[in-house]
């Protein structure tokens, strides 16, 4: 096997243990990578990935107290922080490999089990990059969201390299799902399943059924996936979607609560639970879910104002029912402060925040603070840094403050 030329490649190494980090950095440098950047934890890696592009990400599964390597992978793939053309190699221990293999939805391009020698890593990397090179046109089309092209390219790759058939069929099925051609997608996945019960194909078929509104069929497939794969928590999210589609919001909430018990660090799932709990007017659960989302947001790709605003809005609802406890007030103030720090340059966010604040003061009959907040709002509107209250809001405030 010829030596692969790594000199045009930039690598990002993510590893929390100093000893392994030094060793792996040396290995990558020896292979001749153009550059090797280092992150000691997932949060730092995200910051680096936001500002730079890498061809290879070598990440350990265990990354100390923060996010683990799988959560990092899911987040950066989901938010498209790394292109499909980049290679993600996960370093695992015997105990963590199950979590990685069981994730189904977002899998690394390859994995390597500790301990490994320099020669083995080099070999693994060469093979992976070779495989990615074969799939390059497919991945370029995926990055451009040209799914029809990706399907076409995948069929070509499959013909030239029969061993990549599984990967290609999976991509083809996923592309049909993206193009909302659900019957086509279902046909692809079902056909794979005739030969072998591959979890990714069951997952694809189950989603196609969901979009085709074959909800019961979809549910039974997701339940099957959950039984076969203990670590596939995403199946819960889909079951919750099915329950929502069937108008059974209470069942959906119970499913999400269970999923969160298994995997509490998933921000998007906390957001889902918060929104769902709001619709069934369970504002306590909603507040808790958004509170957790806020605390997860800081070092996440999904750090946006909506999370914080949703959290504030739950306090409006809570204060309609009962006076806020001092603990709740504190939490409210803490999230309020974060919005001020992070998102107050946005006039719409600023206006929305003022409106929630005013609503809460009115609900708890703190007229003074309500008036002060409104005054600040009016001042900011005049300086052009906040949107003005709507007519309806003005009417409502006037009415409330006159009493």
């Amino acid at each position: 096997m010829g030596q692969t030329d790594f000199s045009s490649h930039k690598a990002l190494l993510i590893e929390d243990m100093a000893e392994a980090r030094i060793m792996q950095k040396k290995m990558l440098t020896d292979f001749g990578f153009q550059s090797v950047d280092i992150a000691m934890k997932a949060e730092t890696a995200i910051d680096l990935l936001k500002t730079q592009s890498f061809d290879l990400i070598l990440s350990d599964y265990n990354l100390g107290n923060g996010k683990d390597g799988q959560q990092l992978l899911e987040e950066v793939r989901h938010s498209e922080l790394i292109p499909n053309t980049a290679t993600y190699l996960m370093v695992t221990a015997e105990t963590s490999i199950e979590m990685v293999m069981g994730a189904i939805e977002f899998q690394p391009d390859g994995y390597i089990t500790k301990p490994f020698s320099q020669a083995l890593l080099q070999r693994r990397l060469s093979k992976l990059l070779e495989m990615k090179a074969k799939l390059k046109q497919v991945n370029l089309a995926l990055d451009e969201k040209d799914f029809a092209k990706a399907i076409e390219e995948a069929y070509l790759v499959m013909e030239a390299h029969p061993s990549l058939e599984g990967k290609c069929l999976r991509t083809i099925g996923e592309c049909y799902l993206e193009m909302q051609e659900y019957a086509q997608a279902k046909a692809i996945f079902s056909n794979v399943l005739k030969n072998r019960k591959m979890p990714w194909a069951v997952f694809g078929e189950a989603r196609a059924c969901f979009y085709l509104n074959q909800l019961e069929q979809s549910e039974s497939k997701f339940r099957q996936l959950m039984i076969d794969n203990r670590f596939f928590v995403s199946a819960y999210d889909w079951l919750a979607k099915i329950k929502i589609a069937q108008q059974d919001h209470v069942a959906a909430q119970a499913i999400l609560v269970e999923a969160i018990e298994r995997s509490p660090k998933n921000l998007l799932r906390q957001m889902e639970l918060g929104k769902l709990s709001s619709t069934i007017e369970d504002y306590e659960t909603s507040e808790l879910a958004f509170r957790r989302a806020v605390s997860l947001a800081k070092h996440s790709c999904y750090n946006n104002a909506e999370i914080y605003l949703k959290h504030l809005s739950t306090f409006v609802k809570l204060s309609e029912q009962n006076p806020l406890s001092s603990r709740q007030k504190e939490t409210f103030q803490s999230t309020l402060k974060k919005i001020h720090q992070l998102f107050f340059d946005d006039p719409a966010v600023r206006a929305q925040t003022y409106s929630y604040e005013t609503d809460i003061y009115l609900n708890i009959e703190d007229t003074n603070n309500a008036k002060n907040t409104l005054a600040l709002w009016v001042r900011d509107v005049e300086s052009g840094i906040a949107l003005a209250p709507t007519n309806q809001q003005n009417k409502q405030y006037k009415l409330a403050l006159e009493n």
Binding site: G102, P115, R123, P162, G166
Partner: protein
């Protein structure tokens, strides 16, 4: 005191030990880099390294064995080109074979593909080859073929064969445990209601022992 499940405790103890072996291997790698090429201790260091690697692989085997036996192993199959899979296995085990002055090679059709759990089969092939290292006279071969609905991976040597030298295959012996592991691993592969299995045979190519692993496709 509450009665504890001893096999679970042993499994986690093995896991701890395995991690320590991993750390030792890393440190040894560091030591190797500080030494000049062709120094007098090179052979000794290779022996230590090979022994640690084998120890690591054995711990892995025992961990999988524990999970297979307690139904805690989730099978994850994928489709592989056998040429690549076996090339990987030979690459990982070649130094151990060479250290014993044995030849190790693989033979299969370059287009042959198969669907199986890669980690499990890596451990099974490793176990079988380590075992063959003890009995082979000069060479060990790994073969892969397709027989009807089964992928057959076999490990063959030119030793005395199963019926004589390796008679000691009760589960207590090293060979017996390895065979048991191979059997559970094969059984875990199920496809269209057919279950995988192993067979102990005589090698028609090399005249010694042949362990054939049948995996349903």
């Amino acid at each position: 005191m509450k009665k504890m499940d001893i096999s679970t405790i042993l499994a986690s103890a093995i896991h701890e030990s395995k991690n320590q072996v991993g750390t030792l291997l890393y440190q040894l790698q560091g030591v190797k880099e500080t030494l000049p090429k062709n120094n007098l201790n090179e052979a000794k260091i290779t022996v230590i390294e090979e022994s640690l690697k084998k120890l690591n692989d054995e711990w892995v085997e025992y961990l999988y064995l524990y999970r297979l036996a307690s139904n805690g192993y989730e099978l994850h199959v994928d489709t592989f080109l056998l040429d690549e899979f076996l090339d990987d296995q030979v690459f990982a085990l070649l130094t151990s074979a060479n250290a014993k002055k044995l030849e190790l090679s693989y033979h299969c059709d370059s287009q042959l593909t198969g669907t199986f759990d890669e980690r499990l089969m890596t451990a099974v092939v490793g176990t079988a080859v380590y075992n063959a290292l003890r009995f082979a006279r000069s060479k060990i071969q790994i073969h892969a073929t397709k027989e009807e609905n089964f992928l057959v991976i076999s490990i063959e040597d030119d030793g005395q064969g199963f019926n004589t030298a390796q008679e000691e295959d009760s589960p207590e012996s090293n060979t017996g445990l390895g065979l048991y592991f191979a059997q559970l691993s094969a059984n875990a592969h199920v496809c269209h209601d057919e279950e995988g299995y192993i067979e102990k045979q005589e090698s028609t190519v090399l005249g010694g022992a042949k362990l054939a692993i049948y995996l349903p496709q």
